[in-house]
């Protein structure tokens, strides 16, 4: 097993196996919860030290729920989450606290995730206080250093979040996330609410900080072009499951799953001379409450199969080094070639 500079083995930063997050759904006033919303329904995922894992998918596919379960803002229903070699899936709030130093989260909407009654200083020094690190002078120096790192002036410390623009507020959120020098930051749609010129500034900042601090990112977004720029490996989620995972270029140059192909073809390209064929999928994404049996994508795929075939499960397999795909007659064009191997 390869060992990275800080002594962590490749598999040891984050190793998620068979993770499920099911929410009970109540129907009517008197009935007990009998149905479950299967937001995350069996996900395997690994993140290596210093890398960015991009997680893409459309709304409701479970990508944010997966992120929240990994950093234990939600309790998983089933499965393992090994972080730094330890199982954290079942830990209590208190037992999780030491791990929070090493795992942080940046949310989509900085206006909602920053406490509006606190100054920027209070927001950024809070992690140090919770973890009982350093005295007032130490924290003060840290706040200044962190503001500088994320490209804000030190006088920003005594202002309130509402005094800043969206991009600046996201910088504040990032400063708080990197305060304790975590090993993993879950970035949940961190640039989706920002204008394009600000979006590129924040993506650059995240890439610069990764170079400097060696932090890993789980970068969750719906915009494939954004994910592509920042990620080393990318996973595509559909209705609670990963359907394809590959190193960045491989996924874009050689997508295998029909859903990935449709997603890629649907992105509008800012180049009027390049007219491309859009693959328009049939129907809507099925509900994660009572999802259809078997392959969740089969009934929307451009490859039409019988209901009998659709109701069979696909297999998630590695078709070339690091390239994993849900293999099913409806999800890959060359099913026979892959299945005979």
């Amino acid at each position: 097993m390869v060992t990275s500079a800080d002594g962590l083995s490749e598999a040891q930063l984050l190793d998620v196996k068979g993770l499920k997050v099911h929410f009970p759904v109540k129907e009517g006033v008197f009935s007990r919860a009998k149905k479950f919303c299967k937001a995350v329904d069996g996900v395997d995922l690994r993140i290596r030290p210093g890398e960015t894992y991009g997680l893409v998918g459309e709304s409701g596919c479970g990508k944010s729920t997966l992120g929240k379960a990994i950093c234990r803002l939600l309790k998983p229903t089933q499965g393992e989450i090994r972080f730094l070699g330890q199982e954290i899936g079942n830990l209590s709030r208190a037992a999780m606290r030491p791990f929070r130093r090493d795992m942080q989260i940046v949310f989509q909407d900085p206006a909602e995730s920053l406490n509006s009654r606190h100054t920027v200083r209070e927001i950024i020094e809070e992690p140090f206080i919770i973890q009982k690190i350093g005295d007032q002078a130490f924290r003060s120096a840290k706040v200044e250093e962190l503001l500088d790192k994320v490209g804000l002036e030190s006088k920003a410390a005594d202002r309130y979040p509402f005094e800043f623009s969206g991009g600046q507020r996201q910088r504040i959120g990032i400063a708080r996330a990197i305060a304790l020098e975590p090993k993993l930051i879950i970035c949940d749609e961190p640039v989706s609410a920002l204008d394009v010129s600000v979006q590129s500034q924040i993506l650059n900042l995240l890439m610069d900080l990764q170079k400097e601090l060696g932090v890993s990112y789980l970068f969750i977004a719906h915009d494939l072009a954004v994910v592509r720029v920042i990620s080393d490996r990318i996973g595509v989620m559909y209705l609670g499951k990963l359907v394809e995972e590959a190193p960045g270029d491989e996924l874009f140059d050689n997508p295998v799953h029909e859903y990935t192909k449709a997603l890629l073809s649907a992105i509008p390209t800012p180049d009027p001379s390049r007219k491309h064929e859009r693959i328009v999928l049939r129907g809507d994404v099925p509900s994660p409450i009572d999802p259809p049996p078997g392959c969740a994508f089969a009934r929307r795929s451009p490859i039409e199969v019988s209901e009998e075939v659709a109701s069979q499960e696909g297999r998630y397999e590695e078709i070339s080094p690091g390239h994993w795909v849900e293999l099913h007659p409806a999800t890959v064009a060359d099913y026979d070639r892959y299945s005979s191997r």
């Binding site: 709304s59 394009v196 010129s197 890439m207 649907a266 509008p268 390209t269 009027p272 328009v280 809507d284």
Partner: protein, 336 residues
């Protein structure tokens, strides 16, 4: 564009809002023409005034805070700014349809889908309830809603986001308008649904021969759907022209900066993106001169920022190619 086929002509539109902090001019002298049957994109970042421009054309500004100060909006021989409210009401929906970003807020949650479409038809075309409902079914079928006879009896919350947006489009198109204003029609939707909706809009446009004003922050959507583009920055038009003029030969440094900063599917991975330095000036501190100048990468822009002309003179527009107009200030233009 010949004068004869111009459907809508906006000239020197200025719209202001009264806020607690004072009066702000959100749209400051916007002009453009729209040919019948064509698609014009208005693009820019949040706060640039693109939506206020659309609301001004439709006379849907919040009252009393918002007010059109000056300008003309010529539509089929009438100045929409001058026509009485009742006339404007007849034009809205009948001749100009509108599609909003958030279908859940554009639809009435307590009314069935069919009734909402039929309402617009019976108001504008004077059909009775039964006939209007039949038309509603027909229109829902045109916008690709399966089993429309069943869907007309459902409420908006029973539909998916993509289906809801189809209903909003159905309402906008119910009276076969000559112009549809779509304000970020796909921003709240997923990419695969967005593809469906854009495809639908384009085919309906061809079929009905209507013109579309597409307001969006997404340059990809503009490139794929529009024939002409207006790039707005801080309440003014930075540049306008055909889609190929703007994308292949951008002349304003803001357009260039924006085009360079979007991640593309073929841009190098794990490498810094280009950015535009600085930020949009606050509405209360808008300069008179070229508003992009404080962020301009032009090597001698400092001279301009300190000059009297930046403080006092508003740059005009110059035509650099047929139909391609750019703000006439060398400090925010691509160097010749």
């Amino acid at each position: 564009m010949g004068a004869s086929d111009i459907l809508l002509s906006v000239e020197g539109l200025r719209t202001a809002f009264d806020t607690d902090a004072g009066r702000v001019t959100a749209v400051d002298g916007v002009s453009f023409d729209l040919a019948a049957g064509s698609t014009l994109g208005i693009v820019g970042e949040s706060g640039c005034g693109k939506s206020v421009t659309a609301m001004s054309i439709m006379r849907l500004l919040p009252r009393p805070a918002g007010e059109i100060i000056s300008g003309r909006v010529q539509f089929e021989g009438e100045d929409l700014i001058q026509v009485p409210d009742e006339r404007m009401q007849a034009i809205r929906g009948n001749e100009i349809g509108i599609i909003f970003q958030e279908p859940m807020t554009a639809l009435n949650p307590v009314h069935k889908v069919g009734r909402q479409i039929a309402e617009s038809i019976s108001i504008h075309e004077g059909l009775n309830r039964k006939d209007a409902l039949d038309r509603a079914v027909e229109i829902l079928r045109t916008v690709g809603i399966p089993a429309p006879e069943v869907r007309i009896d459902e409420y908006p919350h029973q539909l998916s986001g993509g289906m809801r947006q189809r209903v909003v489009i159905a309402i906008a198109l119910a009276c076969r308008p000559k112009l549809v204003i779509a304000d970020e029609p796909t921003t709240a939707l997923d990419v695969t649904v967005q593809a469906q909706i854009l495809e639908l809009l384009q085919s309906l446009q061809k079929e009905l021969g209507m013109a579309v004003i597409m307001i969006t922050h997404d340059l990809g959507v503009i490139a794929e759907t529009c024939s002409d583009v207006v790039v707005m920055y801080a309440g003014r038009v930075a540049e306008r022209g055909s889609v190929s003029q703007i994308f292949d030969n951008p002349q304003h440094l803001y357009t260039v900066g924006m085009l360079n900063s979007i991640p593309r599917l073929d841009s190098p991975r794990k490498q810094r993106l280009k950015t535009i330095d600085g930020h949009v000036p606050g509405l209360m501190e808008m300069p008179v001169g070229a508003r992009f100048a404080p962020r301009s990468p032009h090597p001698r822009v400092a001279e301009y920022l300190n000059s009297a002309s930046f403080k006092e003179e508003r740059p005009g527009m110059i035509e650099v190619d047929t139909g391609h107009w750019v703000e006439d200030c060398s400090y925010v233009r691509v160097e010749q």
